[in-house]
């Protein structure tokens, strides 16, 4: 064995030096020296052989001197690296199971981390695509019905003129809106308005042409437009002559003055096709309060932070609020200044952190596993290393060798990880919800690759250094047993750490899973199966009056009702349980004969304007009185239906049917026709709001904006009905685009974020558990193998097989219990972090923790019992003869 190693090492040295042209020269030089020394010794009276021996003794290690001479050569280090690489590769080839296990483990750890990082990078870290993005803020008012900052004309001009903390301030319109490009090749586009100062504030300049001039940003200024790069490319074939061309937007001409940069996005994360000047009348805005609503952004002066800006803006805000907002409403308005990153991604930042944290935990487990494997390998190779040390390899040189192996493994792991990350990312995008910004565009670019490289370097350093620090000195040749003990301690603690981390991941996944289940299984108060929604986008310039729109919709309704298997067809402005719906303050409703409520009080009320079949289409029970009838549609009386919640609040202990209520100070009075059962109407996880249904009558004024959504309840599956709906509508006007979706789909979308979080965390918990269990198995199996002889002795002395099983499994159980307890404590400590993601689950739900613990215990015990049973089967005679 030893001889084999020696020859192998000799070969290894020769290999390393064969390129050295000076080898012969050095040999000759040293030879000359030795001859001279021998001659000198002979002269002193020694025999030839004694003289030669003495010369060698004086010289010291020839081999060592030779090596040191080589080490003087510039670039020697590099040579040794190449040599280490060759040596490591040979080692890996000899032990493919080890190599593949390590690379696969690393690939899972690095791949998952890379994939998650590429998703959260844009949310948390990557700079936003604007100049001085860290100083741009969103600024404005917030109130209970609108949580995103907005300003109103009167506020904006007062603030702009009197503020100090910002060096620039400008607004865009409140939202992207549909507009029509009217020409030979018509298209429906997204338009936005913005002030002349808006693009300069963001540090964006058009790639072609110019930004708006101040005189164009006035009500009577020339009508000009900036178009998006996409529109320029797809619609105008990148025609450079687009500048100064007149295009017809919504029926009136606008002159194209520039093209926006590729991929330009508003700070509200929307991509407009056409941008036109906001062109509001400053004079009128200043006089009229509150004025034109808009989204305002500003750039902080250098050195001013958000808190300071807030403090400076507060008096100005108070002043404008007190002059422009009626006293009763004032206390509902607050000033808000947020960094642009928060404005864009605040609600998903927490999710991003949780996902990043969990995936890093998985990576940690993977690294610990690889470290453990490397250490096990190091133990097996201890003799080899000891021989190399004895032959003069320095400690640094051995560490370098181990680190080279680690580096090679992590490079391979990183490469495999990138491939895996690409696959995972596709999976993320496929199951990803719409609510996570940038997800669809997440990709593996150079920045992500750099991150992966850093990550694998770090990982390699960890699992390379841990075993390297234990590189044996020459003494290890003799004293082996004690060293095993020390190392086993380190490996055991790694396993305990792994089990603890998987416990945290498992319980986190259990909490999310339960929460997701709660969300899916809750009663929505309406049916979703077999219900189809159809959104019909009527081009505004052709259907320009309420009358025309109503005629279209009523014809569509009639056409659909004639189809077989259709139970109900209804129009509404919005569909529960989530998404947009109109609403107003509870205090705006007055019941006849009761005092008007205090303005601004009572929270908000959801409202929908529906045709009579609405309740039938969604199967919402009418619990009192009646719903709307077909006759009501043409009748002169105005009827409303209240939700049970609203009825109870407005008419506690009374029968609301027949009562009269009024919306607003001088709105029309309506009669309560009936009370409908409550419906989940504020998303899946929020508290329900009281709801009021207004009747959508067959009168032109009831068919304004927003465009109604059609709800179809059919006996047949929606898959079959959807094409019928399309063709029925095409039969009326073939140019109208129709988007259909089943209600089950849109509800499922609302739970998408929760599903995404649950799936990811579940996947991480699974990977973490798997790796921890493999680590546990490895350590127990290794220790059992080390103790084969001891087991033999014990059995020879009378220990039963059960005793042996207990001995080995007991080791595993200790690790599991220790890891489990530590993990449970950590999980309970960190569960708080998940709180905001949970729905109807306590973050310390004992059942879930018990389930997670049980799962971990069962799997981990199984991993312990396999090697323990193998140890139990050891034949004492064989064991004693070993070695």
């Amino acid at each position: 064995m030893r001889k084999e190693w020696l020859s192998r090492l000799r070969f290894f040295f020769l290999l390393a030096f064969e390129k050295n042209k000076r080898q012969g020269e050095l040999d000759e030089e040293l030879q000359f020296h030795l001859e001279q020394a021998t001659l000198a010794n002979r002269a002193a009276g020694m025999t030839q052989s004694e003289a030669h021996r003495q010369a060698l003794v004086e010289f010291g290690g020839v081999e060592r001197a030779r090596e040191q001479c080589y080490e003087q050569r510039p670039g020697w280090r590099l040579g040794t690296v190449a040599q280490d690489v060759r040596y490591a590769l040979r080692g890996f080839r000899r032990n493919p199971v080890f190599t593949i296990t390590v690379i696969a483990t690393l690939a899972v750890g690095i791949g998952a981390t890379t994939a998650v990082f590429s998703v959260v990078d844009r949310i948390l870290f990557r700079s936003l695509p604007y100049a001085h993005d860290d100083r741009i803020v969103s600024l404005g008012l917030v109130q209970s019905l609108e949580k995103q900052e907005f300003t109103l004309g009167g506020f904006f001009y007062e603030w702009r003129d009197n503020q100090k903390p910002f060096e620039a301030i400008a607004s865009q319109g409140t939202m992207l809106h549909a507009c029509d490009l009217v020409e030979a090749n018509p298209a429906q586009l997204n338009c936005i308005q913005a002030q002349a100062g808006f693009l300069p504030l963001l540090g964006i300049s058009p790639v072609l042409g110019r930004n708006f001039l101040p005189e164009e940003d006035r009500p009577s200024g020339p009508r000009v437009a900036l178009i998006s790069y996409g529109l320029w490319q797809d619609h105008y074939n990148r025609d450079a002559g687009i500048l100064n061309r007149l295009i017809d937007v919504d029926g009136s001409p606008a002159r194209v003055i520039g093209v926006l940069p590729k991929g330009f996005e508003l700070p509200t994360l929307q991509a407009p096709d056409v941008m036109m000047p906001l062109a509001i009348d400053e004079g009128i805005e200043r006089r009229s309060s509150p004025g034109h609503p808009m989204r305002t952004f500003a750039r902080l002066r250098p050195g001013v932070n958000i808190a300071q800006a807030r403090a400076e803006m507060e008096p100005l805000f108070n002043h404008t609020r007190d002059t422009m907002i009626p006293a009763p409403l004032r206390k509902d308005f607050h000033l808000s200044i947020r960094s642009l990153r928060d404005r864009e991604t605040q609600d998903v930042q927490w999710t991003a952190w949780i996902l990043l944290g969990s995936v890093l935990a998985v990576l940690l487990i993977a690294c610990a596993n690889v470290a453990s494997l490397m250490m096990a390998r190091g133990e097996v190779r201890e003799r080899e290393l000891a021989v190399r040390a004895a032959l003069g390899a320095s400690r640094g040189r051995l560490i370098q060798q181990t680190l080279t192996e680690a580096a090679l493994l992590s490079i391979a792991g990183a490469a495999a990880g990138m491939v895996l990350a690409d696959g995972l990312l596709r999976a993320f995008v496929a199951i990803g919800p719409t609510g996570i910004p940038f997800l669809k565009r997440a990709g593996l670019d150079s920045r992500i690759a750099l991150f992966t490289a850093l990550l694998s370097g770090l990982c390699g350093a960890v699992f390379g250094l841990l075993p390297a620090l234990q590189t044996p000195r020459a003494a290890a040749l003799a004293a082996r047993a004690t060293r095993f003990r020390n190392r086993a301690v380190l490996r055991r603690s790694l396993v305990v750490g792994q089990i603890a981390i998987s416990m945290v991941l498992l319980s986190g996944a259990a909490l999310l899973l339960r929460s997701f289940q709660n969300m899916e299984e809750q009663s929505l108060g309406m049916q979703t199966q077999g219900v189809l929604t159809a959104r019909i986008a009527l081009p505004g310039f052709r259907y320009d009056t309420g009358q025309k729109r109503m005629e279209f919709y009523l014809r569509a309704e009639a056409a659909l009702r004639r189809l077989p298997g259709i139970r109900a067809v209804s129009f509404t402005d919005s569909v529960p349980p989530g998404g947009w719906n109109s609403g107003f303050r509870f205090s705006e409703l007055t019941a006849s004969g009761k005092p008007r409520p205090v303005p601004g009080s009572g929270g908000s009320v959801a409202s929908r304007v529906v045709t009579p079949d609405y309740f039938r289409a969604l199967n919402i029970p009418i619990v009192r009185g009646r719903g709307f009838t077909e006759e009501d549609r043409n009748g002169g009386d105005s009827f409303v239906v209240l939700s049970r919640l609203l009825a109870a609040r407005m008419f506690p202990g009374e029968d609301p049917v027949g009562k009269r209520i009024q919306k607003g100070q001088d709105g029309p009075w309506s009669t309560v026709a009936g009370v409908a059962e409550n419906v989940k109407n504020n998303g899946l996880t929020e508290q329900d709001e009281p709801e009021i249904y207004f009747l959508r009558r067959s009168a032109a004024e009831d068919w304004g904006m927003p465009a109604p959504v059609m709800i179809v309840d059919a006996v047949l599956p929606p898959k079959t009905v959807a094409p019928w709906v399309r063709s029925a509508i095409a039969g009326i006007d073939p140019t109208v685009p129709v988007e259909t979706e089943t209600l089950a789909q849109s509800v499922s979308k609302l739970a998408g974020r929760s599903r995404f979080e649950t799936a990811l965390l579940g996947f991480f918990a699974f990977c973490g558990l798997l790796m921890a269990v493999i680590g546990l198995y490895g350590v127990i199996a290794f220790m059992a193998a080390q103790r084969t002889q001891e087991i033999g002795v014990r059995m020879a002395l009378g220990a039963t097989r059960l005793d042996i099983l207990r001995l080995i499994a007991g080791e595993g159980v200790r690790l599991i219990v220790l890891g489990g307890v530590l993990g449970l404590a950590a999980a309970l400590g960190t569960a708080q972090l998940l709180k905001s993601l949970l729905y109807n689950v306590g973050s310390h739900d004992p059942m879930l923790y018990a389930a997670a613990t049980l799962l971990l215990a069962v799997v981990a015990l199984a991993a312990t019992l396999i090697p323990a049973r193998a140890a139990m089967r050891v034949e004492p005679v064989v064991a004693l003869r070993e070695e």
Partner: protein
């Protein structure tokens, strides 16, 4: 294998350069000369002599050439280069400053500083 006499870091380089100052010499000669001149106090471990010679050569302070030894054997002779000569001056200065300083510390401000 450590050198038989502990020399200060860098001192071996200085000794070699100084020994080569009069003219080219082979490795064995350098070792012998240092030993003789120092009256056997400084015994250069050959184990460190050759690495040092190679190091100095890579630095460009000395150059080597094959020649015949006194007893007509092929031997590698080392000679100072121009840079080496300059380096020797610098190192001598440094050494003198250093030894003077050490002498001061040891309380023997004797001839060493002269």
């Amino acid at each position: 294998m450590p050198p038989s006499t502990d020399l200060l870091q860098g001192t071996l380089d200085l000794l070699i350069l100084q020994t080569l100052e009069p003219g080219p010499m082979h490795g064995w000669g350098v070792a012998q000369r240092i030993q003789q001149v120092s009256e056997d106090v400084l015994q250069i471990g050959q184990g460190s002599l050759y690495p040092a010679l190679h190091r100095l050569e890579y630095k460009g302070w000395i150059e080597s050439d094959w020649g015949s030894s006194e007893n007509n054997r092929r031997a590698k002779f080392y000679a100072l280069t121009a840079t080496g000569r300059k380096q020797l001056e610098t190192e001598l200065e440094t050494w003198e400053r250093l030894s003077a300083a050490i002498a001061l510390v040891l309380g023997r401000n004797a001839e060493a500083s002269a």
